[in-house]
């Protein structure tokens, strides 16, 4: 599955890659995947795409799990639709949809050593044809929708048609570009036909939840945009929608007819909308909610000190940088960009702002990914070297005002960051102070978030503190390839290096992950040498739960990754 957490419109400024550092952007959902399974991949063969049997679930540690009970999860924003194909992918929405609808497989968060593998969900097994252009899934015969109608291959095909239909306008439409058709072989067998062979076939086939054709097929695709699907909720997950009070509460009850295994211990999951993060934490301390998804680093100690609470910390998929506008004269010269990175005390910045709850970032691939280059040099804090590089690039303080000049221009620029994000304001001030020592005048400018993106997208900026939330598919195209006007791009900083472009294209096409790794290692070296941006941090997620809530393996894959194993301690 693909994840779209970073683009959301929730209140109190959380959401997209910029508003609220610890808001919903901190619940990255991890679904982009590389569709290669682990076992045979290690042998480096293309025919490696086989189902992987997940390890047996471990026995709960403290006695027998208690059946029943409810978990109240605080969330910043309400769900605007339960139809994934109308959704803009807000995190809370994606979490709720994942409890209500099945996918063919479940992506595993095992991407440290190899591209993530998949576990069976609606599909019990799957296999590729010998030419790898056809992928066949075998569905669980006992799978049922909440109204008792069987989940069949027709539903899988219907879902595919919805995903591909322009009138529906699903955000993930392009994910299905290379899937020509989905063929119903028999009620429990479905076949995906691909137009080409590429590494992400399994992931693209799995992208998106299966929706009920017998219920939603009554609405023509042209009317999906304006249809309230909540009035026709037929679900197929471990939970079903019991009640929804807009802007307040979503109550999900365990579906007694759920066909999957294991069956959840919990009877109910409640999503309680609490827009203010401070209020979320206050309610957690008061026992009114059982789980808070984004604890700020400042509050981590307080949570840890509370005997009734547990703090879960794991690497998020979010990382931050200072994006230098490579098209502007200030930042054209890579010596200057390198000097800026050397002149910012990144270690101290990360430790100060995140209080130890973040890692120093060193390059364009997350350090938790299999593709990360462990030999990448970490740039030190070296103001002397920075000053030397700036002098080599022609920046000198000629008029003695303490600010460097070059070609009659002073080295002074605006550093944009989203308003309502206290962490990034702190970062901006620290960067300002560090660069002032080099004779560079930085003016931190806070902006409303949508305006900030619009300006950055238009290239109308000098520098910005920017955050990306990455999927689990390693593809550097949108962020680091030379921007293409025809296809759009997320490379707002205008970085362009023909060698990098070539390598990105080659790595994207390479089906063998160990061969792709060689290309990706080289890519990371090139990008780090160019320093188109100053790589700042990879943040960790801090999730707080009631101590008596057991069995929860909350990780960067999804909040409810193993919700069927959550239980209350006796």
């Amino acid at each position: 599955m693909r994840s779209r957490a970073a683009s959301s419109l929730p209140p109190t400024g959380s959401g997209a890659i910029g508003d609220n550092e610890r808001g919903s952007e901190m619940r990255p959902d991890i679904r982009s995947t590389v569709a290669l399974s682990s076992l045979l991949l290690l042998q480096g063969a293309l025919a490696c795409r086989q189902p992987v049997v997940p390890p047996p679930r471990p026995a709960p540690s403290a006695g027998l799990p208690l059946r029943g009970g409810q978990v109240i999860v605080a969330t910043t924003a309400d769900v605007t639709t339960f139809n994934e194909y109308q959704s803009t992918g807000e995190q809370g929405e994606a979490d709720a949809i994942d409890l209500l609808f099945p996918t063919l497989m479940t992506e595993q968060p095992d991407y440290q050593l190899h591209p993530p593998s998949f576990a069976p969900r609606l599909a019990t097994s799957w296999e590729f044809s010998s030419d790898n252009r056809t992928l066949t899934f075998h569905l669980r015969p006992e799978a049922r929708w909440s109204d008792g109608v069987p989940v069949t291959a027709d539903d899988v095909r219907f879902t595919f048609l919805a995903q591909k239909n322009p009138a529906v306008g699903s955000l993930g439409m392009e994910m299905k570009d290379f899937i020509k058709d989905v063929e119903v072989v028999d009620p429990h067998t479905v076949r995906f036909h691909f137009t080409r062979v590429y590494p992400y076939q399994l992931m693209d086939a799995n992208d998106g939840h299966i929706v009920p054709s017998h219920a939603w097929g009554k609405v023509p695709f042209e009317k999906w945009r304006t249809t309230d699907f909540e009035k026709m909720m037929v679900t197929g997950g471990a939970f079903r929608l019991a009640a929804h009070t807009p802007q307040q509460t979503i109550v999900l009850d365990r579906d007694p007819t759920y066909w999957g295994s294991p069956r959840p211990y919990l009877d109910r999951v409640v999503l309680r909308v609490v827009p203010d993060l401070a209020s979320q934490l206050a309610q957690l301390f008061a026992g009114q909610v059982n789980l808070v998804q984004a604890v700020s680093p400042q509050e981590a100690d307080r949570v840890q000190a509370d005997p009734d609470l547990r703090l879960v910390e794991f690497p998020s998929r979010m990382w931050g940088m200072v994006g230098w506008n490579n098209r502007r004269p200030f930042f054209e010269d890579r010596r200057v960009r390198r000097a800026l990175s050397l002149g910012i005390n990144r270690r101290s910045l990360v430790d100060t702002v995140f209080r130890g709850h973040a890692k120093l970032s060193s390059g364009p691939v997350l350090s938790s990914m299999w593709a990360f280059n462990h030999n990448l040099p970490q740039l030190p804090y070296d103001p002397d070297q920075a000053a030397l590089l700036l002098a080599q690039a022609g920046w000198r303080d000629l008029n003695g005002d303490g600010i460097l000049e070059h070609d009659g221009r002073s080295f002074a620029f605006d550093l944009l960051y989203p308003a309502s994000n206290a962490l990034r304001r702190q970062m901006a001030l620290l960067i300002q102070a560090d660069l002032a020592r080099l004779g560079i005048k930085v003016r931190p400018v806070q902006m409303e978030f949508t305006s900030l993106i619009a300006r950055t997208e238009a290239g109308d900026f000098d520098a910005t503190i920017w955050v990306w939330v990455e999927g689990t598919r390693v593809d550097l195209t949108s962020e680091w390839s030379t921007p293409s006007p025809s296809q759009g791009s997320n490379n707002f900083i205008g970085y362009s290096n023909p060698d990098v472009d070539r390598l990105i294209a080659a790595a994207r096409e390479e089906p063998d992950y160990s061969r792709a790794k060689v290309l990706l290692d080289r890519l990371q070296e090139l990008i780090v040498a160019d320093q188109p941006a100053t790589f700042l941090y990879e943040s960790t997620m801090l999730v707080a739960t009631s101590r008596q809530l057991r069995g929860a393996d909350i990780n960067s894959a999804a909040l409810f990754f193993n919700v069927d194993e959550w239980y209350w301690e006796r």
């Binding site: 779209r4 957490a5 009070t245 209020s279 978030f449 993106i453 999927g471 949108s478 296809q487 759009g488």
Partner: protein, 320 residues
């Protein structure tokens, strides 16, 4: 009379059109649009462009304005881009929540303000008067979120007397009918008090001033001479006249009644207009923003009309 009423109606409609048009232009001029926030490395950049086309954001401004106006003139406010529902049904789902909260808040503000002013006037410039003045001024100066958070900290988290947020408890939401009422009442107390406390200073100060003036008027002295007690003269004779300026003040509060308070709604997780409009503004949800603006402007128009009518009723010298 009919002509005058029609003229007021026409002026009201013209005002709504003007404000909506102005909002349309302002939001369109703001950087970014609804698709801007889809910036995400996991979404193909092409999807962003596709969304722009799908929502008609690539069409020229006059064309977009013309089609919106044509639909709005027939009462069709379109669908919200964020909530994927009719704008009218989004507004209809939150407006009652806001009205309930703000009208109770304003009522509390008014009642408390009047009561305090009367107490103060027992002995003007005495210790009680000064203390109350100090207290109401402090309340007036305090930031709303401070008052709200303080109330929650003490009454909810320390003393466990009242719920800190939401309209209903979880049990309340799952209950039906009248069983919800006591639960709702408990949840209303803190936000209503927070709104009331913030505004009571203004009402009390205003009323105290005009009561001080009225107290020395001939008709009040005459009432005293007829044997009224000072309290009766104040409450029965001076107060109705002193209340007149408050009618204007309350008329001006009508937009607040409808638009709600973002701060109060966020602190108390109250599902009202404030939050919805704030999200709409951040997300550049143009149809919803325009719908909300129209409702708020209509409230201004109606508020003014009601204030004028109330004035006419209260003071026969005034003609509407």
């Amino acid at each position: 009379m009919l002509r005058r009423a029609l003229r007021r109606l026409g002026a009201g409609i013209a005002l709504i059109w003007l404000v909506a048009t102005f909002t349309f232009l302002l939001v369109s001029a703001a950087p970014g649009d609804f698709a801007t926030r889809l910036t995400d490395p996991r979404i193909p950049p092409a999807a962003r462009e596709r969304w722009r086309r799908d929502f008609g954001l690539d069409r020229p401004l006059p064309a977009r304005y013309a089609s919106w106006l044509a639909a709005a003139a027939t009462g069709d406010l379109g669908s919200s881009w964020i909530y994927k529902q009719k704008v009218s049904s989004v507004l209809a789902s939150v407006l009652p929540n806001t009205l309930l909260l703000t009208s109770l808040g304003l009522a509390l503000e008014l009642a408390l303000g009047v009561a305090l002013a009367i107490v103060q006037l027992r002995r003007p410039h005495g210790t009680g008067d000064r203390l109350i003045t100090l207290a109401t001024l402090t309340a007036y100066a305090l930031p709303t979120f401070g008052v709200a958070l303080g109330l929650v900290a003490v009454l909810s988290y320390r003393l466990h007397l009242l719920p800190p947020s939401h309209m209903l408890s979880l049990e309340g939401e799952l209950a039906h009918g009248w069983a919800r009422l006591p639960d709702l009442a408990r949840h209303l107390v803190l936000p209503v008090v927070a709104i009331g406390v913030a505004g009571v200073g203004a009402v009390a100060r205003y009323l105290r001033g005009s009561l001080l003036d009225e107290r020395l008027e001939q008709y009040v002295l005459a009432a005293r001479a007829r044997g009224c007690s000072p309290r009766q003269a104040l409450v029965r004779h001076a107060l109705p006249n002193a209340l007149l300026p408050l009618i204007t003040m309350m008329g001006m509060s009508l937009p607040f009644l409808v638009s709600g308070s973002l701060v109060i709604e966020v602190v108390f997780s109250w599902p009202g207009m404030g939050q919805v409009m704030y999200n709409a503004a951040l997300g550049r949800d143009l149809p919803l923003l325009l719908g909300g603006t129209i409702v708020a402007t209509a409230a201004v128009v109606v508020g003014n009309l009601l204030a004028d009518l109330a004035y006419a009723v209260a003071d026969p010298r005034v003609r509407v």
